[in-house]
């Protein structure tokens, strides 16, 4: 063990030093006039080259190496790999933005995504490691006996992981298109290549060691900009400690800004606009004809007045872009109405929990906060790509330590995210709001060009009001280097970090999907006699197929992508958590109980999500299925119902049947008591 760790430490130390030297070199080159685009290319090429090198060096033909990295990953390194595996582009780019936009409510993600590790550490990881096979469906099959449990496990693994991996590849496409200027679709496939070079040849072994490398890059990239910003604003380079003070200043600014008369006016105008859209929706389809007529009239007027050609063309485009059918018009106007209503709503204080006017509103916010925390925690403890990481340590003891290291490395990012939100909010409230539209800061115009920031001077006073500002949440993180006035090389570093976060998660997820399909479905169910070589061939081919499939879905830019990520947690939680927990802690749980519980949990979650989130599914020809949420709980927390139903079903069905056979009882004991199965 010990002699295995020393060279590892040396490799990664020199690797990190080399990466730093590279960043410094680029910074110097930038001074001498290297264009930003080249800096972007250098980061993209160098990091993907690095990951590819590790991937090739770690290639393997052994099944144990391919699926679980030979079970000799030391606790600390497994912790780092889990950190990178875990932190996706949603954590890296989205979290800071969510916290900026929703303040306290956003902390549900911080708590949920960290608290889940308590459940992993106490209830799952040590037992899974003692069981010591390859996948989560493996455990279900061994515990409950029979392939049906395995099959349901495979289905849930693929479902939850696939929506998640699509979101990662989508993130890769965004980053490459934004920083390197590649076309989005090409960016997606560049990302795909980056993912495949890591996982294709070396499976889990290669993925593990690239993830360690990716963790180093992503955490440095995350900490550097906000640390410098903290130093500039407060004089102390520890953002996690200083953002409290900054938030106090934000609080003071909020008091004046929220009550400002120009702000009130802007909000009122947005509300009026929302009402106008509402009016139009009510009077469909006449209102659509009316809109078309009035545009036509204005175009004719302008034409007869010999007005500027440009104006006429613009109006003609507006007329062309009017929704074709009244159904389209309803959807489009509803989204416009929601946007306007949001901007017109009274803003909330950043640190106020469960904000809003009135007891009922507060109560709904509280229920949604607590249920979201719950779903994210349970989902964390049930996502197969995280759990399989704890198969890779050398022993149960190392696994227990490894969960600690995982959370420590994850906290480095999660404790910093609220600081990003605070510092950027301070910057925006103190210098952007109230400034003249003619002299916007550089970062606003540069991110405005690609639509990430937009300002609409609705009250026409030539000044920026808070209500007039619309931000894409991702911009909070991406623009921080520019807000702090840092050189472009830091922006490149942030992009490399975001890329590392997305790639590492995608690697882990793809491998999990491929393993579930090749190991559980193909080898264990269809062809138990397949040779090890053939199994690896199947696994690698499936990896390729799934990767290309995910990339093609991602290149379609599915609109509901952010919701899908939150759904993955509810799906995984309701499918796996009850069956895994009761499998270890309740001997009486039976095969029939587990299978029915998993199915009921999963189906109820899907049912709730679909009916609360969609009113119609056009491609299935289903309409009018929308329903009122139960207790006001949003679709992102659908898992609450599924998890509860899952537990209940397993318990009831198990008690109705016969107790599990002796073999199963022995299996449970072997998972619980360490010395029994070690002959």
């Amino acid at each position: 063990m010990a002699d295995y760790k020393v060279p590892l430490r040396r490799y990664y130390a020199s690797y990190t030093a080399g990466f730093f030297a590279f960043v410094v070199l680029l910074a110097v080159l930038e001074r001498y006039g290297m264009p930003p685009r080249w800096i972007g290319y250098s980061f993209l090429l160098l990091t993907i080259f690095l990951y590819a090198t590790i991937g090739v060096l770690a290639r393997t033909t052994s099944v144990a190496e391919y699926y679980v990295a030979g079970r000799r990953v030391p606790a600390v390194y497994n912790g780092m790999a889990t950190g990178a595996d875990w932190m996706s582009s949603a954590s890296f780019m989205g979290l800071a933005g969510t916290l900026y936009l929703s303040g306290y409510q956003g902390l549900a993600y911080v708590m949920g995504w960290t608290g889940g590790y308590v459940l992993v550490a106490l209830l799952l990881a040590p037992y899974l490691r003692r069981f010591g096979q390859y996948t989560i469906p493996d455990f279900l099959a061994a515990r409950y006996g029979g392939n049906l449990a395995r099959l349901v496990g495979v289905f849930a693994t693929v479902l939850a992981s696939f929506v998640y991996v699509v979101a990662q590849i989508y993130g890769v496409g965004l980053i490459t298109s934004r920083f390197v200027g590649l076309q989005f679709e090409i960016g997606v496939f560049v990302g795909l290549a980056g993912i495949l070079v890591c996982s294709f040849l070396g499976g889990m072994r290669a993925v593990t060691w690239t993830q360690v490398a990716q963790y180093a890059i992503l955490i440095v990239a995350y900490l550097v900009p906000v640390t410098i910003l903290s130093y500039q604003v407060t004089g102390v380079p520890i953002p996690q400690l200083t953002y409290g003070q900054v938030l106090q200043q934000v609080q003071a600014l909020e008091e004046t800004i929220f009550e400002d008369s120009a702000e009130r006016e802007a909000r009122r105008l947005f509300r009026e606009r929302a009402d106008a859209y509402y009016e139009r929706i009510l009077t469909l389809p006449e209102s659509l004809d009316e809109a078309r007529r009035s545009l036509t009239m204005r175009i004719d007027e302008l034409k007869s007045d010999n007005a500027q050609m440009r104006e006429v063309v613009a109006l003609e485009r507006q007329r062309r872009e009017l929704p074709k059918t009244s159904e389209d018009a309803r959807n489009y106007w509803e989204s416009q109405m929601r946007k306007a209503a949001q901007r017109g709503a009274a803003p909330e204080h950043h640190t106020t929990p469960y904000p809003g006017n009135g007891e009922a509103v507060n109560e709904t916010a509280r229920v949604n906060f607590l249920t979201l925390v719950f779903c994210l925690m349970i989902g964390t403890a049930a996502l197969p790509h995280v759990l399989t990481r704890y198969y890779t340590t050398p022993s149960v003891r190392e696994t227990r330590r490894s969960v600690f290291w995982s959370l420590l490395f994850i906290l480095a990012l999660y404790l910093t995210a609220p600081a990003y939100a605070a510092f950027v909010k301070f910057e925006i409230y103190s210098s952007l709001v109230g400034s003249s539209l003619a002299q916007l800061p550089l970062w606003v115009s540069s991110w405005g060009k690609i639509g990430m920031v937009s300002i609409e001077d609705i009250n026409g006073d030539g000044l920026v009001q808070l209500a007039e500002l619309a931000l894409n949440p991702d911009v909070i993180l991406l623009a921080t280097p520019e807000i702090a006035g840092l050189p472009y090389v830091i922006s490149g570093l942030v992009a490399a970090g975001a890329l590392a976060a997305a790639l590492s998660t995608a690697d882990g997820l793809l491998l999990t999907i491929a393993s579930a399909l090749s190991h559980d479905l193909y080898y264990k169910i269809f062809r138990p006699k397949a040779t090890t070589q053939w199994r690896l061939v199947v696994s690698k081919s499936l990896l390729l197929v799934v990767a290309v499939l995910a990339a093609s879905v991602a290149s379609q830019k599915p609109a509901t992508i952010l919701f899908m990520v939150a759904w993955a947690f509810s799906l995984a939680g309701s499918a796996f958590f009850p069956a895994l927990i009761l499998g270890v802690f309740w001997k009486r749980a039976t095969h029939a109980g587990a299978v029915s519980g998993m199915l009921v949990g999963l189906l109820l979650t899907i049912y709730y999500m679909v009916r609360v989130h969609f009113d119609s599914i056009p491609w299935l020809g289903i309409q009018g299925i929308g329903m009122e949420p139960w207790l006001g709980i949003q679709s992102t927390s659908a898992g609450v119902w599924g998890i509860a139903a899952g537990f209940l079903t397993i318990i009831v069905v198990s008690l109705l049947g016969k107790p599990p056979i002796q073999e199963t009882q022995d299996f449970i004991e072997s998972v619980r008591y360490p010395e029994f199965d070690r002959w």
Binding site: M1, A2, Y104, L107, A108, V110, M111, T114, G115, Y117, V118, L119, A121, L122, L123, P126, Q240, L241, G244, Q245, L247, Q248, T351, T352, P353, Y354, N362, R366, F369, L370, V373, F374, M377, P394, S395, V396, R397, E398, R400, R401, V403, F404, L407, L408, L411, Y414, L415, P418, D666, E669, R672, Y673, P674, E675, F676, R678
Partner: protein
Amino acid sequence: MKLERKHRDYWRRNLRLTAVLLTVWFLVSFVVSYFARDLAAFSFLGLPLGFYMGAQGAPVIYLLIIWWYARQMNQLDREYGVDDGESDD
């Protein structure tokens, strides 16, 4: 397979530790958050206590829970002479 008393003891102690730590986890996650509005009266590091607990307090307590569990269980393993195929380093 016959269970000796020793193994029952081991499992009972494991369960007790797990239950205690899960209670702490539950209090920190759900009970404290439930009263977040009321905790706004207190402040810590410049932040209202409710906000602080969500942003830093709870995650750090989670880390401590996991650290304590690993430490206690690994000690318990040693006490009960569990050989996990690992030499301690």
